[in-house]
């Protein structure tokens, strides 16, 4: 089982890390979304600073969403999923392996890229550590919740966009607490509000780690039999 789990996660990471896989692509997309905002709303620095945490999280959500679609879809379309589901791993663990791989190739690089983009949006440097911590706590939830959406829309052409829509409402708590954590830092009361938001983010991630794969496996069974 462990061998199968690792093999699957490694294969998914490898496929996604290659070009056309989506890993680097997500970061690049994040970058363009963030770069396009100042062009749209104008280069006014205080306004940008105000927008920065929100836009960073929105960019992160979008980049993460867009890479969801292929989590199961590609395997279903080319027939590999039939074979995966006949292997020794229960579907729940298949979903865990795939969500983890998704996080490694999208969530993690996005977190690393975020501070650089923060500079572009004029985010004060002292808020960066909190931003990164909040993102580290929050991004796993994006992949694990996302797995359910991806599973629900598997087998639908263009399921990707539909998955985004199904998943977005569930991303909103992450967004709210994520932005909250960064803004609390500005208020200078990290001790309370910041920590609280961070804890909530962690809790959401933990919960999604359990619920996400269960839901995804159920959705896959319902969709593919």
């Amino acid at each position: 089982m462990r061998r199968a789990f690792l093999a699957l996660a490694a294969r998914d990471i490898r496929l996604a890390a290659g070009i056309g896989g989506g890993g680097g692509m997500a970061v690049f997309f994040f970058l363009t979304v963030v770069a396009i905002v100042p062009l749209g709303v104008g280069p006014d620095r205080p306004v940008l600073e105000l927008l920065a945490p929100g836009m960073l999280w929105v960019g992160l959500l979008l980049a993460s969403l867009l890479t969801l679609d292929r989590m199961f879809q590609a395997d279903v379309e080319d027939g590999s999923f039939d074979l995966l589901s006949m292997g020794p791993l229960p579907l729940e663990l298949v979903a865990v392996a795939k969500s983890l791989a998704h996080w490694v190739v999208t969530g993690l690089p996005l977190v690393v890229a975020a501070p650089v983009l923060g500079i572009l949006l004029n985010l004060p440097p002292e808020r960066m550590p909190l931003l990164v911590m909040a993102m580290l706590a929050g991004t796993p939830a994006l992949s694990f919740i996302g797995a359910v959406g991806a599973a629900l829309t598997v087998g639908i052409r263009r399921g990707g966009l539909l998955a985004s829509l199904l998943v977005l409402p569930f991303y909103i708590p992450v967004l709210i607490f994520g932005v909250g954590a960064v803004e609390a830092a500005a208020g200078g009361f990290e001790g309370q509000a910041g920590m609280q938001a961070m804890l909530l983010l962690g809790a959401i991630s933990l919960a999604s780690f359990v619920i996400g794969p269960l839901g995804a496996a159920a959705a896959l069974r319902a969709n593919l039999r």
């Binding site: 590999s80 074979l83 006949m86």
Partner: protein
């Protein structure tokens, strides 16, 4: 694979797809070393039957059981399925593909070499799947069967796109599996040249 009391029982099976009864009341058995060939016109339900055995399609009615195998594993885990789709990833080379499946399915050491051998893929080992021709892809997807031993093989038109030499190789491959006490259920429109093959004909003769 040496369990000689291995036996696949299918009884009174029905299949409904898209709200339409494809077949019903199908029963058959197959024992170790036996091959069953599914024939019948297009749309008779050969592929559907194979997918039901593999656990990839819901069973509306009837039962499918495999006795004499590993009691702790379900049928799906004791079966190899090779369907119409190849399940290949364009950027992964032939060797990487087989290695992955060996690791995932828990294949024994040396399985990958056996597989390359069985379908004469060794010369192609370093090519990405994207570069393979139709028949080469098919050979790779069949080679997967050799990567980890499983007693029941479910093959959906396995000889499609293969050239004469590869068909002969496939024949030897299947014969070896049967000789080792395995079971094969294969759907086909062509003659697969299996030694001990019984035929199960699905569907009415085409009328329309």
């Amino acid at each position: 694979m040496t369990t000689s009391d291995l036996r696949l029982h299918v009884s009174d099976l029905a299949c409904i797809r898209g709200g339409r009864v494809v077949f019903e009341g199908i029963s058959f058995e197959a024992g170790a070393g036996e091959a069953l060939v599914l024939t019948g016109p297009n749309g008779a339900g050969k592929s559907s039957l194979l997918r039901q055995i593999a656990g990839l399609l819901d069973i509306e009615q009837g039962t499918i059981a495999l006795t004499g195998g590993d009691p702790e594993r379900g049928i799906a885990e004791q079966a190899h399925y090779a369907g119409h789709l190849d399940g290949l990833k364009p950027p992964m080379t032939v060797l990487e593909t087989l290695r992955f499946w060996a690791a995932f399915l828990g294949g024994a050491a040396g399985g990958v070499e056996t597989a390359l051998e069985a379908m004469a893929l060794a010369p192609l080992a370093d090519l990405p799947a994207a570069y393979l021709s139709a028949g080469q892809k098919r050979r790779l997807s069949l080679a997967r069967l050799a990567v980890s031993p499983r007693p029941l093989w479910l093959l959906d038109e396995p000889s499609v796109a293969l050239d004469a030499a590869s068909v002969a190789r496939l024949r030897a491959f299947m014969a070896g599996h049967l000789a080792g006490g395995g079971i094969i259920v294969a759907a086909t429109h062509l003659d697969l040249g299996l030694p001990v093959a019984r035929e199960l004909r699905l569907g009415r003769e085409v009328a329309a």
